[in-house]
Symmetry: C2
Subunit: 332 residues, 2 copies
DNA sequence: CTGTTAGCGCATTCAA
DNA sequence: TTGAATGCGCTAACAG
């Protein structure tokens, strides 16, 4: 099946090539009879318009470039999944890239999106590295799952998530608090602030630091082990909030190996509410993926369609704690 | 940053547009001085060639369309991940679609790939539905993770996987065998055949049927529950091989709830060797993802570059059993 | 309502 | 070595 062009369809249907274009795009009036003929030929030969040509002509590709940082976390997988199906409903295809937390790769991806004339970009940034450049791109871009003032963004209120976790722990009667995650995380800030407001202290010795780059079980485990080694296996907290479910999971496994009971000895709350937490019975803070995706797409399409460069939009969605067994324990 | 074209680069560098094209593509000789100027301008203004135009002109898009059936199974996620990074190394971008096991969606995706002038297609088919049509597409296509004689394919030897599981169980002293998975699965055939060869019978009452469409924990669980109900909660086997890790996981959870000990009461082997099995300690049959992806890409690129329509290639890779605790038990 | 024409941005042939 | 000219497949303005 050699590739057919409109010209050939036109010849077969005995009309001009522009008429074929008209019936395909269906905006202008075409003689009913001619239209039928054209449609039949298209059907018969299985003609599909060349979108490279359309893109060139229309200066519009109907492509959205999506760049994520990893797919190890099931949360991102679901995000991409929803993104793809929602975008498809709106007539867009997804060009998917995975930066693997590498800013250089990220930038290459963005360049690729530009080269391919993507109408818009949705990005989970690797950090601040490329944000400025992205801003000057001249292509609508929205950040998802995070908030950055310099660009349109829709994320979760991470600060609020931390607060919710802290409140839960405080209400359950805990007095010694732990945190496990990356160094710079609004969740930690929110967590800590609620502790202070309630007269508690956060002891930095109870911060188990996980590297940004620790994106798989094994690496996270190493971070935990090295913490334990440093602390001579002594844990001085009765509850802990984890920056994401992967981290929560590894903490849980580590605890089980050491006969630390969850939640009796240590209560645990994770983040993302992926099925990892579901299968392991880990309480977790839920991110509304569908909402987030739909909102993101709305913001993006709005930028694509009305290029009025109004102020940046920064939307923060609300987190919800999903309670499971890992935090189901009240201190006397 | 308005979008720049070659023409404008040419003007800025005081050369003709074709010269700019020459220095970018670098095949033809260009005056060294002029080349330098062009490169500088490109660098300065951040020019990126419009690949829609290139695609149109070259009849080559450097896009590979990838259509998977789901991303719920982490195995597919990893597959896509590796696919993307390997394809990128080879200068290709991935257009990713998710058919969600719907043949209509699948066909739409393929059409989209054609419209976008994809140079090749890699597909995990939803079934036999679109295979014939795909074959007549005139665009190189290879099936991954499955084998179909009518198209190029690279998959695992599922039959062999079933055999390995059966052998393991037989050697461990089992005499009553179970299987959980979809109805038509070569793994089951392999499994059964080894049982027969060794003088055992497979009792179809021990086949827990999971629907093809049961692609998440909840649906799988329903299939299991309805089986248990039918059998009045009586399980007449001491070992079971699961068609994939998700299914194995649900079986495990169901068993735990019912105080059925794994592996003491029932030994379990899963399939795919995803991290689900790793975190749950489920023995599982490993699929060599990297091998599979690289081989697939090799086959595909070979088709793209030399359109010699030789015989179909059907490659079957070897499965390997990764033993964990869920099968670590010898019947006396 | 329809055909002719121009041109999107680029690679490439042909002259110079 | 280089510029001018052509055309990839399509949309859209224009003239009929």
């Amino acid at each position: 099946m050699a590739k057919l062009t409109m010209k050939e369809i036109a010849k077969l249907a005995k009309v001009s090539q522009s008429t074929v274009s008209r019936v395909i795009n269906g905006n202008e009036k075409v003689n009913e009879d001619a239209a039928k003929r054209v449609l039949k030929v298209i059907e018969d030969v299985g003609y599909i318009p060349n979108s490279a040509a359309q893109t060139l002509k229309r200066s519009q590709s109907k492509i959205i470039g999506v760049c994520v940082t990893e797919t190890y976390n099931p949360y991102f997988v679901e995000l991409v999944d929803v993104l793809e199906s929602e975008a498809r409903k709106l007539g867009y295809s997804i060009l998917l890239h995975n930066s693997k937390h590498n800013p250089i790769t990220e930038w290459e991806s963005i360049q690729n999106f530009i080269a391919r004339q993507a109408d818009g970009v949705i990005c989970i940034p690797t950090g601040e590295y490329n944000l400025q450049r992205m801003n000057k791109l001249g292509i609508p871009t929205v950040i998802i799952t995070q908030n950055h003032q310099s660009l349109d963004s829709v994320g979760l209120d991470h600060m609020q998530a931390g607060k919710i976790a802290a409140e839960k722990f405080i209400h359950a009667g805990h007095t010694k608090f732990g945190f496990i995650g990356t160094a710079l995380d609004d969740k930690f800030l929110g967590y800590k602030s609620v502790l202070y407001e309630n007269g508690f202290d956060f002891d930095l010795n109870n911060f188990i630091r996980v590297e940004e780059a620790s994106t798989n079980n094994y690496l996270i485990r190493q971070d935990i082990e090295s913490y334990l080694k440093e602390k001579k296996e002594q844990l001085d907290f009765t509850c802990i909030f984890a920056g994401n479910d992967l981290v929560a999971l590894e903490f849980l496994e580590m605890a089980q190996e050491r006969k630390i009971r969850i939640p009796e000895d240590i209560s645990l709350i994770g983040f993302d509410d992926t099925y990892l937490s579901k299968i392991m019975g880990i309480s977790s803070i839920h991110q509304p993926i569908e909402d987030m995706v739909k909102t993101t797409l709305e913001v993006l399409l709005n930028r694509i369609e009305n290029e009025v460069s109004t102020e940046k939009v920064n939307i923060k969605l609300d987190p919800v704690l999903i309670e499971r067994t890992s935090s189901n324990y009240k201190k006397s």
